[in-house]
Amino acid sequence: MFAFVMRRLAVAIPTLLLLIIFSFILMHLAPGGPFSQERELPAQVLANLNEKYGLNDPLWKQIWNYLTGIVLHFDFGPSFVYPDRTVNELIASGFPVTLTYGTLSFIVAILAGVSLGVIAAIWHNSWLDYLAVGISIGAQVLPNFVMAPILVLVFTLWYRLLPGGGWSFTDPTFWIMPVIALATSYMASIARITRSSMLEVLGSNHIRTARAKGMPEHRVIIRHALKPAMLPVISYLGPVFVSMITGSVVIDIYFSTGGIGKAFVDSALNRDYAVMMGVTILVGALTILFNLIVDILYAWIDPKIRY
């Protein structure tokens, strides 16, 4: 197990390196620079800006400086578009927000999704099952950029229950709509997976044996069925967390939460090289981390798997 983790971490480094170099080159190939603007800047000002941000160096040197900055000082450089802030500051202000509503959505999606799936499986082919399947299919295909404005309309304008946007770490009323909008489609997917794998497990021999021994049904489900049924759900969760962070663009746009999803899209559109790199690296690292956690969880639940 330990060796496995180490090996995966060793792969992480070249992966990130590849990602950095790839994005770096991509950005510099692109038309338009961070200082492209309507009035062309005087040559001297442009030269100074390029100097200040190190854009005069050859590409390999820029990449090298960037990498050494990260490794030696954990410094992701200054933002071009938000000159008052460094990338570290931008991420430090945006990431906790994204992480907060992302984690909450994650938890909500799992709890609601698994419950829905288990209920549907236990009362297979009853009206409860149909209801659960109906909900999960509907929720799965409704894009969150449709759901978000509906939520604002209903909860902010019509019922005046929730603030229509903004963020606070202390006031949960700001969290509700972002979490609903972000969690719904994942909840639906989890419910579908749980239902089908639960059905499979419930039909398997060892469950039949447990039932035959006269074990009460709720114990059969909790003790014996739930754990193996969770395997496919878990393998689904790794990519989900990361795609939630990507999906947070929609949340940031509609609910003014100030997270890093919007920061990323903005930085790409504004050629804010440093911010874009910073966010890409962060999300890349998270992807690796979550894939790893999923693999470990997998091994823990299913002792047959050896790495």
């Binding site: 992966t15 994005s23 190939l29 449709v146 404005p149 089908s196 496919p232 990361v242 999906g247 992807t287």
Partner: protein, 308 residues
């Protein structure tokens, strides 16, 4: 949104097994599929949507780009769905016929979905089959590369590509297709490994058939079931991805449109009394996704029945 990898693996194993036994899994599967009501309903839906995309324009009274100046500027009152003025689905904010635009958006979305899925499936199959068949060092290297690529946040890269190189359908196809071939390549590789020591492959190799030919002639056909199911389930994911990209404004260029673009436009104006702008595209979007899910699931269940 997800394709369950464990089920795909189980399906792949079953397909290989049956093929080797010399009994086609397809005949039984057809029977099972025809009995599956949800899957049949899905298939009917998909056929109808495809007919709508192909022949819808014959019934449209307007083209997808003409502005109706009588409606323009008072869309909320004049632009609602009506048979009289030929706007069966109403008009968009500029007075363009929503029926024609939905037809055209359906074409684009289906095309993105199908071409994207095809790219993913083809790339994944060839890559996985090659790695598995060649084996050894090459296999190790190729699969390490897949491990590395797995950790790249694709949606980010796709956004980058579209921002950097401008929006174009080709980039969209490519970008969307490239997102999903990795899982496919893993499954295919696993299957290839188990196939390649079977007698019929050994025989082919002994008679001097070149490697690429063995891969294409003997290994790929054995994976057809997996490929079909995978592709069917991938299409809706591609369509969803495209809709997200369109929401960000990075989708196809006007006056072309897609479901994603129409839905996000409709969602913007939904509180201004023009709900049909959201309702019609969303309806087609949803039923098509259902259709693909049902057909994909049905196909998988038919090919890999648990009660065997």
């Amino acid at each position: 949104m997800v394709i369950q990898q464990d089920k795909m693996q189980s399906l792949a194993a079953r397909m290989a097994e049956d093929e080797v036994k010399g009994r086609s899994p397809w005949a039984d599967a057809r029977k099972r599929f025809l009995r599956n009501r949800a899957a049949m309903a899905g298939l009917v839906i998909l056929i109808l949507v495809a007919l709508f995309a192909l022949f819808g324009n014959r019934f449209a009274a307007w083209s997808n780009e003409d502005l109706d100046f009588n409606v323009m500027g008072q869309v909320a009152t004049m632009g609602m769905p009506s048979v009289e003025n030929g706007h069966y689905f109403g008009t968009d904010d500029l007075g363009r016929d929503l029926f024609a635009r939905t037809v055209q958006g359906t074409q684009i979305s289906l095309m993105v979905g199908i071409v994207g899925a095809a790219i993913a499936v083809i790339a994944g199959t060839l890559y996985g089959a090659t790695a598995g068949y060649v084996g050894g060092r090459t296999d190790q290297l190729m699969m390490r590369a897949v491990d590395i690529l797995m950790a790249i946040p694709y949606m980010f890269v796709l956004i980058l590509l579209l921002v950097m190189f401008g929006r174009s359908i080709a980039m969209l196809f490519l970008g969307i297709g490239l997102i999903s071939w990795l899982d496919m390549s893993r499954i295919v590789r696993g299957q290839t490994l188990s196939l390649k020591n079977r007698e019929f492959i050994e025989a082919a190799r002994a008679t001097g058939v070149p490697a690429w030919r063995i891969i294409l002639r003997h290994i790929v056909p054995n994976l057809l079931g997996v490929v079909a199911v995978y592709a069917t389930l991938l299409v809706p994911l591609m369509i969803l991805t495209e809709s997200f990209i369109s929401f960000l404004g990075l989708g196809v260029q006007e006056p072309l449109t897609s479901w994603g673009a129409l839905i996000s436009e409709g969602a913007r104006t939904m509180s201004y009394g023009t709900l049909w702008q959201l309702a019609f595209p969303l309806f087609f979007f949803c039923i098509t996704l259902f259709g693909f899910f049902f057909v994909g699931d049905g196909l998988r269940d038919a090919l890999d029945p648990k009660d065997r």
